[in-house]
Symmetry: none
């Protein structure tokens, strides 16, 4: 691959990340191209569809998330790791409107994208949860789906930037509820 091709792909990815985070999934491709300083054709060349572009971004994000989950699992006791991960996810989503929309199930299947990118997001999430449950830190009847729904619930509505204090309060509330 040519050097300028790599450079442009990078620019598109960066621009798209910001654009999705700021404006949500409905941001026009042309707007992403504009921000990247390239033509719309260049965006399409590197990412044939808008969805594939979003998938690429999510993929990076998922990589970070999986890494974070692994780190937490390795360095902290089960319950603490689980709740720290919950808090981390809420922060991620709160700062990224596109991610929040994807988690809320609006127009993009984040787990499928992770899987096709070779990351077992569902697996690490399940791991954190079951270990926390085994350790008696979390109610035994809670499912992974529950946790994801509650993460979404911790992000106040469409505001571009949520109040961090409110966010902390929400995480606290949900965490308290989840505790065994």
């Amino acid at each position: 691959m040519r050097a300028d091709g790599v450079r442009n792909q990078r620019k598109v990815l960066d621009a798209a990340m910001t654009a999705f985070a700021t404006d949500g999934l409905s941001v026009p491709v042309a707007e992403i191209a504009r921000r990247a300083g390239v033509g719309t054709g260049t965006v399409s060349r590197h990412f044939p569809t808008k969805e594939s572009l979003y998938a690429a971004i999510v993929s990076t994000r998922v990589e970070e998330i999986v890494a974070k989950a692994g780190e937490l699992a390795a360095t902290r006791p089960p319950g603490e790791a689980f709740f720290a991960f919950l808090s981390y996810m809420v922060d991620q989503a709160a700062e990224n409107r596109g991610l929040a929309q994807a988690l809320a199930g609006a127009g993009f299947d984040i787990e499928a994208a992770a899987e096709s990118g070779g990351h077992d997001l569902a697996g690490v999430e399940a791991g954190l949860l079951t270990r926390a449950q085994s350790a008696g830190a979390v109610r035994p009847d809670v499912t992974n789906a529950d946790v994801k729904a509650l993460i979404v619930g911790c992000i106040a509505r469409e505001q571009p930037a949520t109040d961090p204090i409110a966010r902390r309060r929400m995480v606290e509330i949900v965490s308290a509820g989840l505790r065994a």
Copy 2:
């Protein structure tokens, strides 16, 4: 009002409710018309804009909700009333993805719609919450916005009809977290 007009308005409302629930707020008006078995003009006659159609759907619900809140406030102790209302709202939203999206703030201001319909939804919600807080049943730092977000969080997002058992569990979790 003429019989066929009433009938078609009903059909449009029903179709819209299903369509919004199935496909989200972005469902085309033409699709709603198709499901209702009427022309697009008929939809527009009864509901001049797409937003007004959505408002109508939400509005009926809001009426019921406000009535329910009043009843609970009148017949039960503060804390019990509040948590019963929370549970009731989750059930409502679970059966109506349109309502859920409205609560989530996705593209529609439900409170404004309620107000313009003469219903003080925000008021009754705040009433239930503050009374429960005064009675020491709910954390004093929780806001109305928090409660709404958590309601949304209690509903899994993808499916039209959530598993009722999971829903109960979610309500339990959130309620536990909210308790003082």
Copy 3:
């Protein structure tokens, strides 16, 4: 024809006359029905198309105009009659946006409507002009089409109500130009 039918037809005609005069030819049929206090179906029953409704109105108007032309021709010397008619037409059009649009050729053939209504509008206009020309009061090379164009030119643009003083001035200017 039934009495109520006649009454409604009258109401529709009156409402349409006002509506066309006020809002121009593009006023919706439903608006005319509303003003007449009847249903849209009633309008369509009496006047199958919007054009036929406008034709009926123009017809009455044309009747008046032809009568006015005849009266002027009978009671005044040729030149005076012609210029008085010119002034009269400008006043008519200025007070009636629909008529002005029709004279300006926007979407309705007024002369054809007159003819199909049995009125020889073109004839009486030509009569006034040629007699004025024979009497040496008007330039001999002027045509009927010129006169009509100049009438339109005397009506300032889309204003609902033109300044009458400006209108007088315009008539004066055009009249002066037309004189032999």
Copy 4:
């Protein structure tokens, strides 16, 4: 700008000019696209709204008109300049029904468009008129609005191309009427 873009923009402008002239301002954008041999999106790309397309057509003309007015004012005595400009405007409008409609004020504010394009059309027109009035060549009570209305009156409305002889006659008539 790319060659094909320029070419298509030209085609759209040409088609629009003809279409507006033939069918009036109400011609659909799709019809303009069809005549230009391009898709509707191409029209919208070059001219985001229908009004902006119309403005562009008028705008080119306005530029020429302002230049012409400046030239006449610089090279001829006041009265002669004014009447030459009148004649010129009539010729322009006769060849361009879009311009004629704009002058007639039908659905488009030509002066505002000129101003936003940086051209002081109203100013140069007023300059020519007041200088001609100061020189005693034109009636002192005539306004700019009068002149514009009379220009419109010089153009027969139906046909795309007016008979030039009739046009000369009309200009003569109006000029005679305007003289002090």
